[in-house]
């Protein structure tokens, strides 16, 4: 009856030592909204009393001035969550808070664990009860069961049991704890705002609250932030890093720095590299907005072709279309983007995109371009073909649904209706990265999984959900 939890794309934030912790956490979540739009939550503490508020929907809908005023304290954590499963439920909103022998503790998690089944079975065998299928609940159970004298030791023990990806923020009555898994799958940054410590999934959250970036939380590092300061421990065996390369390509905001470097500049370089690998004879470069914008700029620059923002985005699409339903998504394609007929009529176009997942959305777009008179449509993708799902927290469809897992590039071009289709090579992708190629997890392009799931990682087990 129990299945591996839903893959989640999430964002986390934490702060310690600022009188308006709740409002800063709120603003930070605003900046991280792209990492999860399903639910949002904030838990704060004034050193003695923990208060929490969470709800379904966007940060702006979940919190009001009144709600924030009630969240009193100088330390707090926040979380935004996205799930593609039907289980949109307030129960699954985070931070996840419980009471146990030491008092209260709340946790916000970004990433995905790959040995939850085993850990959960063990806990249940000892009498544990579970109210959700979230990794967060499992983590708290492990902390409560560690039963060492010091909270620090319990946290270290609990994390030592975990396999997979986690960028974590925890809060108790008196401290904020921050942790990143030894592989470092997901980003996590440390900043300062006047005297206060801040952590966030991406630096764009620091920009909004005017905090200063200090450094990344190291893979395998745990921070205990208390009144008497920040204590860093790195209790786990060091392993090869596995930074998620797809955060650079697609997921993170372009104005963020992650893994120590800027996303916008990296995406532009991917486009430049793509122009070298995949030259096309055409009249103009048009990015798919906004995902292809930055690679498009790089492609145009490197190729010398004019850059045109020839597909216009409708900014007023309303709430309905944010819902994760297949029907709506297709309808959304037509409503969200419209090409500029006068610009493209009779023209040869290079369409730059950052990825192709199912191919259906691209097919609709290309058809629209042709209907409006485009003479040729060539597509250039700023990463290699996606052939494998992600075990570590990016919510891809199953292997079967990934068009590149079963179709050749030519077949995909046919399916989408292109004059030509070219992907960036794995080599080209790695070459464009701002840091050493050895740091990355590229499993979705290469099937090289840095951490093998307990269940062998067959597709089925990974993606069966409650």
């Amino acid at each position: 009856m129990f299945r591996e939890g839903p893959k989640e794309a999430c964002g986390v934030i934490g702060i310690f030592g600022h009188p308006d912790a709740a409002r800063l956490t709120y603003l930070g979540l605003y900046a991280l909204q792209h990492r999860g739009q399903e639910s949002a939550g904030i838990t704060v503490s004034d050193g003695k009393k923990i208060s929490s508020h969470k709800g379904m929907g966007l940060v702006a809908d979940v919190f009001s001035g009144n709600t924030l005023d009630k969240l009193k304290g100088d330390r707090g954590i926040g979380h935004v969550r996205y799930s593609t499963t039907g289980s949109s439920n307030i129960k699954n909103a985070q931070p996840f808070m419980v009471e146990y022998s030491r008092g209260k503790i709340a946790v916000g998690h970004n990433g995905n664990l790959v040995n939850t089944r085993k850990l959960r079975d063990e806990l249940e065998a000892h009498g544990a009860i579970f109210q959700t299928t979230m990794d967060s609940e499992l983590i708290v159970h492990l902390i409560a069961n560690a039963r060492k004298k010091k909270l620090e030791d319990n946290v270290v023990y609990a994390l030592s049991q975990l396999k997979g990806a986690y960028s974590l923020v925890l809060i108790t009555e008196d401290q904020v704890i921050v942790a990143r898994d030894p592989n470092g799958f997901r980003p996590l940054c440390l900043g300062k705002l006047n005297g206060a410590y801040v952590v966030a999934s991406e630096t764009c959250a620091f920009d909004l609250i005017q905090a200063k970036y200090v450094r990344d939380i190291e893979p395998g590092e745990i921070l205990f932030i208390k009144k008497d300061g920040l204590k860093s421990v790195t209790p786990f065996k060091s392993v090869k890093h596995s930074f998620c390369i797809f955060e650079y390509i697609y997921f993170a905001r372009p104005d963020s720095n992650i893994f120590g470097s800027n996303v916008y500049l990296t995406r532009r370089r991917l486009g430049e590299e793509l122009a070298k690998e995949a030259p096309v004879k055409a009249d103009m470069v048009i990015p798919v907005p906004d995902s292809g914008n930055y690679a498009g700029l790089g492609y145009a620059h490197a190729s010398g072709l004019p850059f045109e923002m020839g597909i216009v985005r409708n900014h007023y699409i309303g709430r309905t279309f944010i819902q994760p339903s297949q029907y709506i998504r297709d309808f959304g394609v037509k409503i969200k983007l419209n090409p500029v007929r006068e610009l493209i009529k009779g023209k040869r176009i290079v369409l730059v995109e950052d990825s192709i997942v199912r191919g259906t959305t691209s097919r609709t777009r290309v058809r629209t371009l042709r209907d409006m008179g485009a003479k040729e449509v060539h597509m250039c993708v700023s990463c290699p073909p996606h052939i494998f799902p992600c075990y570590y927290g990016i919510d891809f469809p199953t292997t079967e649904e990934l068009i590149a897992s079963s179709k050749s590039v030519e077949k995909i071009a046919d399916f989408i209706g292109l004059d030509s289709l070219q992907y960036l090579s794995v080599e080209g992708m790695l070459k464009s990265m701002p840091i050493s190629r050895k740091e990355f997890c590229t499993a979705c392009f290469t099937r090289n999984c840095p951490v093998v799931p307990d269940d062998g990682g067959t597709d089925k087990n990974v993606f069966e959900r409650d």
Copy 2:
């Protein structure tokens, strides 16, 4: 930081073996709505899959046709809950469902335990985490921790740990379990609807779904209802019964049978007895609607005074006034009831009421009667003075707030502004009961507590809440 949970007044229902279990549970909750208006929930199973829906508010607001259609199965349990604390929260809605080593289990609870603190400390010391302060969560923890081979034995073990009041319904994938504490504080009835088994807090639920009353669940009895039939066990040492006498006086619906006998007829007898003990020279008997209606009828009949429904109830008071706030409650007094001026002008009135708690509401009412020209206002109450709070699930105010705990009858009459005030005696109350006087808990009138709380039962501990 942990405190004894809020006292709750609740209603439960269970059904096994009917194709439309959800809809019948829904209707049953409708009939039990007077036992709790804060939240409502239903959990059903089709033998393999458990589904649940719960929400804040009245049964009619929480469930729609759509919601009920999604609750598929031939067995189910339901719960309505009321809490006077500020913690109106969806987290506290029941049935409370978890997953543990044997699968899923959900529980709905009416009553109040008096040794939760101790049990919770023990569980937390062994690594348990708690997400709520509800007794239900504690009970599930105990079942999950029993770790005997058979579910039945786990349930028996868990219940054997409990002290206090519980009328319980539980559901797992394949069975419905029903239990009543050995004292039998709260009512719980067994019925049949065609081939299906039904249990409910009161028989009024049976009337609505046209089920036939069979018998009460016995104090200390546990029912395990499965595909192959109903199994009854009575594993606990038999103790003196402690049926809540206040259910007869005030809490249950008059059209219900509880503890084997009818409520309406009992209340009428209380009024008749009251007329004998407390005769008044007056022109008419007016009940406070609707609480005093049935004792009022008895009083009028036994005294020979004319019965008049001289205080009119406004049925359209809307949602706002259901909220448990002191400000609104006072406002509500004036809006809810209005006397008939032409009827009472210049008249001597016997006002019959079923209880006085704080006295403030009565005071407002009596003042209105006088403003409208009543010549004399005498009040007769169909039970003895309330001098002690309830540890077993009725939500009275603290001892300090109970007017009779500190004031003499004369002082209360003065406070309310009466020409005379008379309460029914303990003896008269017990004499009016349809069953042996030995069966009852009368702690709120006599301070004789059948089960002493672990913390000694000081007022303070009982009523401190989260």
Copy 3:
């Protein structure tokens, strides 16, 4: 395309000269909520600026403390409305406010006009446009088109065009105007609260705000209330009065005085008269709550049979069941009322009701009584059979739907499943009235229409609706 507007049952209130006019109007509407639950509205003026708020639903849902705070002024009018048609629409909420040559004017109307078609045709022929089908809009058009020098004269002119029933409150920037049609179909009372003038459909509104009843607005009277005092005019030819007798029987609140006398005492007398006309050999009298309560008391008293409140009302039926849908209504019958099985088993019952409209609800109730073991069920109705719809503002079904319009009393008894059925005679009804029998409209029992509708009053025209 245009049809006669929906029949409405409504309540109105007006106040002049109190600093908290909005809040008093609000409380008054609360007391009048039984006259209309679909929408509520308040319009106030501070002498210069008019403000308005209205909404769908109960008074308590439409207004909050904030809304009331924004309605500044010392004079105001209020309205509650009920319509059985599907056109539940905010457009139809009142007071209905417009701007015209003299400034702003708003109107709240209780009653129904019978020459709207003709008036509307004339106005449209002169270029008028209509946004609703409400009588209120028509009345305002007439005022705006009168084009006499003084507002008073315009109002008199406009009302002189109307045929049918109206109890009206109007407000302009500087005055409140109150009017009642010459027949006086609907009640309308004048009161004082300290120095302020108050008018309301029923005196129960005065009780709640502690105003003192002064007198009724006379049929054909118009009050102009301004800073310099109240001016009463009676410009219309005096006609025979036609007070709605059904207000006494059913519609008004028992604690109200209307047409100068109390409703409760009148209903009790109807029951006493009924006992004389329709004696039954039985064990007890049970009223259908709450409609049959007062006639039931009278019946029991006059007959010497014991009075029992043997059908219990569920007070927590929630919002859903207030909706005017046939499906819900039937479901509601079963949920709203439950007999006390122990009381009625084997007994002969006189069921007292204030009216039978379609007969379907009564049938369900009687069936339930029999299912629970009642030996005999006799029904006594405290008015004559309803054989004709109402043109003047009570929302009955069409003639075809009125069971008594086509079925004999015996056939109705058969349909409902009674041992016997007896109605009060027209003579008995009139005899029970507190004022002269000549004052009443009894059209729904006798077909004697005091004011003949323009369209001849065929059923069809009256009840065809948008």
Copy 4:
């Protein structure tokens, strides 16, 4: 008490002859959502019966599948509305429907009339009543009062009374009527979809529903579309055209054609011209997204400077920030856009924007750029300074609030905190237009008003509002 109605920016659509008129109107409104986000409405007819639905909020929020299913018919009109005044009220949503002597008529209006006061006074003097301050209500009054034999003549008469801007869609039971004022202030296009006629404010609506653009509605043209075809009349004296030049610069969608030519290409040309007039020594061109995107591309191309999308837009800003409050707007500036620090650090930037109204938003943006390390910030605006409000339907602030009405370019640069500020000249703007410079209204830049308001056009009168 009456004031000129609120200035509105709106969008209209109409369709005749398609079985799914409601759904196409809905999609068309989606495409026109940028023209109004406050309310949306659709009115359809099946030739006999008119149905309507409107509500506050975005098109996606106002309409559901159910609502659309109920709007049956093969012809319809739709409207989106935006108002900056506080009077966000459902009463002001359009289409505005009434019933008058000929039956029902509904109207949707884009533009602003300048002689409403006079027309309204005349109508009120003849007994008219008004429920809103919308131009639409006035227009319907005029049609209803024309009292000629044929509807066509009434419409012509009514429009002949109007001064100012109107692009209108009207619907009666059997026809759709479309009109554009003789100056042609606002755009209005005619298209065909299979056999059906479609009209819309902009061609982007045609793209979404796959209709084919045919031609613009001519200034002064009225279309009567009935079952037997489309009839065009041009009854008014021809006047010099006054196409709103700001529609090209700012208001229309870039993928639309208006006034016969494409918006995107025009904006790019404005940028090219700007680069010629206002060369800057800099490292990169960054547009303010999305308003400056197209002029930015043109500027970059003509200047040879690299184009960078260096300010990133947060797409998930939620509902709160759509509200038109000053407080929220400022907060929104910081949340909506974030520069890419790594890109701009130490760089000289040309910031391209399409207009400056108050200057406060720009100031916040420039400050953020400097905080992030930009070495120089130069701003180039793709139109001349705004010195005058608009009488014809664009909602600018009052003259006092327009920064350029009182400050020199140098002072504005100081206020915003720029190294340099350059506006495009009137000559340059007109030169960039795709059609003859004589066709345009440039009043907001030049104070040359093509149609003088009745009240003399003082600022005060124009912008005083209810």
